[in-house]
Symmetry: C2
Subunit: 247 residues, 2 copies
């Protein structure tokens, strides 16, 4: 390839990576098909919470790296959306609070989410790889790594469609997080995509952008790998270690 | 607990965490029992190589953080052992070269190790968690995180004992890495253990040291989790994604 893609072609290339989105992971397909038991679903909610609480710090790292005030003025909305803003009437007090309520609706007490006792090392390492990447990368690469949001509305819609039928024991009010994200993710991705199309213009840059998006897809997929091994294959860390002689 | 452990008690507590060492992971027990096929063994060799090449950079991060010249003068030997030193007659040109020869003996060409094409994202995230920890931590915490070496000679001995019987197609000369590490790891751990016993003296510090060693055990275990899912369960990343329409 010797000439760069047009913005429309480049966008198409980025969107085509959606075939690797974690909605295709067996853990998620089992979820949408109603094949998870309560413990498995709770494991997902508790592990995914580590991603939720890391995202505002990831976005703060991006703000830290970004010298462009106009970009920061828009990007900061992501932190407000997740943490909740200074105003007490900010929607649902933010995505983290909404996820805590999702946890409660699923039967995971908020203390157990907040103290991260259920977070698997493999999930932690994958999420930390994401925040470390954004911390160390150029801010435009950080923006690009957020573009898995291109594919997120599908995932939220699948959850909203399948959970009430398959998991009727979960209070429907607990699903508010997914409803909120349908609008938020749409708005966020418009901004992130426009910045990416604007800044990655050479052949090398566009190839690099695809690599970055693939890295982020690896993060999401690997999180589910850890959950699959622990909760579907019943192989959580140290599952075979005899503890009785040492406790 | 209100009084700190004596050095001997503290050492015993550290050593007791050896029950979580990755030699107990199903992937390793299969290895020692001769249950891995060639592709699975090669997968391990290629993924573990990412750990090998990261270790000298991890030790360089520790040198960077350490203001104590006497410690640095001893610790630097680890980098020399892995990378090979300036003198051309340094033993086997170091552990990385020895691992490349191990790879060749197992049928993995050195280019395939060096370009890291086989490295699974979950392995990369786990190893990167280790180097990032050492980079960001106090140097004494970095030292403590190296103490899985307490348990390493057992692993190397198990490999030297089981491989020739179970995997006779591997040239015995290729196992030199394990033979070298039997002596090197013994010497390294004496230094790392002495520093840890000397610096972690309060109740809180000793508890923290156990957490750090457990974190490092998590890194090693999680690496094998990723290999187990990919090579034993045949679930490498994106194994179920149809590529034909996109290539």
């Amino acid at each position: 390839m010797t000439t760069p893609w047009t913005p429309a072609e480049f966008e198409q290339q980025l969107r085509s990576l959606g075939r690797y989105y974690h909605t295709h992971h067996p853990f998620q397909t089992m979820m949408y098909a109603g094949k998870l038991n309560a413990a498995q679903l709770r494991g997902w909610v508790a592990n995914r919470f580590y991603y939720q609480v890391t995202i505002p710090r990831k976005d703060a790292a991006l703000l830290f790296n970004c010298p462009d005030r106009e970009v920061r003025r828009v990007w900061i909305q992501r932190i407000l959306d997740h943490d909740g803003g200074p105003a007490t009437d900010h929607i649902s007090n933010g995505g983290i609070e909404a996820w805590l309520r999702l946890g409660e609706a699923c039967g995971v007490p908020r203390e157990e989410l907040l103290d991260q006792r259920h977070v698997l090392p493999g999930v932690r390492f994958a999420v930390d790889a994401y925040i470390n990447f954004v911390h160390q990368a150029d801010w435009r690469e950080g923006v690009c790594s957020s573009l898995t949001e291109l594919f997120a509305p599908t995932a939220h819609r699948q959850r909203l469609q399948s959970w009430p039928d398959h998991y009727p024991w979960i209070d429907n009010a607990g699903l508010q997080y997914f409803r909120n994200r349908l609008t938020e993710a749409h708005r966020d991705v418009d901004h992130g995509l426009a910045l990416t199309l604007q800044h990655f213009t050479t052949v090398e840059q566009q190839q690099r952008a695809l690599q970055i998006l693939k890295f982020k897809l690896d993060v999401l997929w690997t999180m589910l790998d850890a959950m699959y091994l622990a909760y579907i294959q019943d192989m959580p860390p140290y599952f075979n270690i005899e503890e009785t002689n040492h406790e």
